[in-house]
Amino acid sequence: MDRIRGVLQSQWRAYWRRLRGAGTLRTSNAGPLVLLGGLFVVRYLQQLPVAASQLAKGETTRYEALLTAVFLAWLFPVMGETRRSITSRALLHLPFTANDLFLIRLGSAFISPVSWIIVACSLALCYPVALARHPLTGTLALLILLLLGLFTSLTVTHLLNSAVARVVILGVLLVATAIGGLVWLAERNEVVETLTSVLPDRLAAAAAVSSAPVRSLAVLAGMTAVVGFLALRTFSLTLQPRQNQRSQSFTFLGLIDVPGRYGGLLKKDVRHYSRLLDIYFAVPIVLLFNMYLVGDTAPSAIAFFVTIGILFLPCISLAFNSFGLDRPLGLDRYTLFPLSDKQKLFSKNLAFGTIVMILFVTILPLTVWKLGMWTSVLGMIELIVVWLAYVSYGNWLSVREPFKMQFYRFASGGSPVDAVMGVIFGSVPVALTVYLVYNEGNGALWKLVLMTVIYLAIFLFSLSRSARLLESHQENIRRALS
């Protein structure tokens, strides 16, 4: 146990040393971030008495909502983790068993103060449960649910290291979305009820108030045991050295030759960007919109324009932190290339545009079919303007406030204040397009073209300013990514 504690202490020391090195509360808008986080926690705590009074009456709506929030929050410490100094594989040469390494892995998830807040907020749910009909089984179910959240995040994180598992997870996500979409379109509430009754939050709530609490508790415990076993098993698999996997790798991107000076860089960035988990939130959006187009006899063009705006949201980290997936060594290569700072930023902008364009293309055929060519052309113009808006803001932010992101993890570490400002800036063209098309129909074309010209000017100005900043901020970016 002493050896495990020793490693965790080193992790702890490295984490705090790095955090201290980040500077003051003004750095990366950490002050507003703490303030916003504090407000969120206060708002959460305000919900507890409401949930308590509902639970006392046998109602579970608010409690279930809080449980869902907490369950999702428990995914964050592991799936958004980018700052673990000592990886499990780096400890393989030391005399640790796989179980020891798993314990170190579990312990490492609780080094960041964000995880302490999540733990504290989760345990605060004991208060409403205490007033429920079955406080003992309710509390046990709550604790088991928290463990399930942690095990789930660990299992998914481990599985994401495998290419096959990633495809399977994406497939499951698509199938689940399709089923959800079909049920929603068919308005079959009893099916929804049956399907959701085995969700962990429903089970945990049922253990506190239902007439058969032990059964719900047992199902939840069984589920947790299975996921816990999977977490340990998948963890052991990730410890296998990757050297055995050396292969003549086949990739779809490898088949495509992108011409031009930026071709290789573009391919590299598209591959990097496609490995950020955030962007996969766009997949259900695309699927649901396609289902809406097929299922609705007269789909709304406005919904199409709004969906284009929504498509950008899961991808904002790519625009606002365009160097986040590079490593300091990769930055060195950029420095060695005979490319100006403007060209480096522009190649990143193109990669972001390519990702969004791929998403857009998946809704385009059905849009042309159901909404017509003209609406699709207007949508394309909107897409370009919104892209220009996001990269105009994003270039500046990418240089000023970079943060490290990791493959197959969610982006974490950026300032939500900057993100919200950027989303507002990027959503202005969406609102304008909706307004213009709604009021002027096809006559909106010229105004949309004018809007494109204005945003192009803003983009060129931003590119030039950000490129000038990039040179002086090179070292900061390198430090942020190390």
């Binding site: 050396r246 086949f250 000076r261 071709g263 290789g264 060594l329 060195d332 420095t335 290339f337 005979p338």
Partner: protein, 246 residues
């Protein structure tokens, strides 16, 4: 071809390179030698544009590193100390990325890449991701990237470290050929035997300062080996008896 004047780099209070004055003529293979932490890599980083000098300047093929960094980057090829590769790309993709950035067409890039990879015995491994490659493979990939655009000046930071003897010999032969064709090569290395047989001039840096700079001809005339000159300036530790070992 390479001329530094008062080149200096400070990191806070620490002076990594101090007032370095070097001159490397065209077509010469020049060895920059020194112990770990002496400032060799920092010098290469400054000359190749990765680091900005705190003071001084350097001219490479007549262009200043301060005023014409892009022009210089177009002319030089670099094998950096840390290789500066992208984990997520294959060896082949690295070369295909690199060529067009230097203005080569894709077909020309592919033709040159094939020739280089065959020579460096990497052709059969070309579709291996860098993260799955051995250190030697990575180094050869970075070397091919440094050569693909036919640079006028080549900077190689520890090119023989982690390379097997066959590849090492191939690289040495290639460098000699390039030198004969008028390409200037600056290498840093700890392997004095290889350097001695390869370079036509060398300099030793100790604690960021130039200790000695001379041609191999001068070395031969002085009747001493490169190793003897090296150890004249670099202190060697006498082995201790570690009583707890064994």
């Amino acid at each position: 071809m390479i001329e530094t004047t008062g080149l200096t780099r400070r990191f806070g209070d620490f002076v990594a390179v101090h007032n370095l004055n070097l001159r490397v003529p065209k077509g010469v293979i020049f060895g920059l030698l020194g112990p770990n932490g002496s400032g060799k890599s920092t010098t290469v980083k400054m000359l190749t544009g990765i680091l900005k000098p705190s003071a001084g300047d350097a001219l490479i093929d007549g262009s200043s590193i301060l005023t014409s960094p892009l022009e210089i980057k177009q002319k030089i090829g670099v094998l950096p100390e840390d290789l500066a590769l992208f984990d997520s790309l294959t060896i082949w993709e690295h070369l295909k990325l690199c060529g067009p950035v230097y203005g080569l067409s894709l077909s020309e890039t592919e033709a040159r890449a094939e020739q280089l990879l065959n020579y460096l015995d990497l052709w059969s491994d070309r579709h291996t991701f860098i993260e799955q490659s051995s250190f030697g493979m990575k180094k050869k990939c970075a070397l091919a990237m440094a050569l693909i655009h036919n640079p006028k000046v080549l900077f190689l930071d520890e090119p023989f470290e982690g390379i097997d003897p066959v590849a090492s010999r191939s690289i040495k032969d290639l460098l000699l050929l390039m030198s004969k064709k008028g390409i200037t090569i600056l290498i840093t290395s700890h392997i004095l035997e290889i350097v001695e047989r390869l370079v036509s001039a060398f300099a030793v840096i100790v604690d960021g300062e130039l200790a000695v700079s001379q041609t191999m001809e001068e070395t031969v005339q002085s009747g001493r080996s490169l190793e003897e000159i090296y150890f004249q300036y670099v202190e060697r530790r006498v082995v201790e008896d570690f009583e707890w070992i064994g």
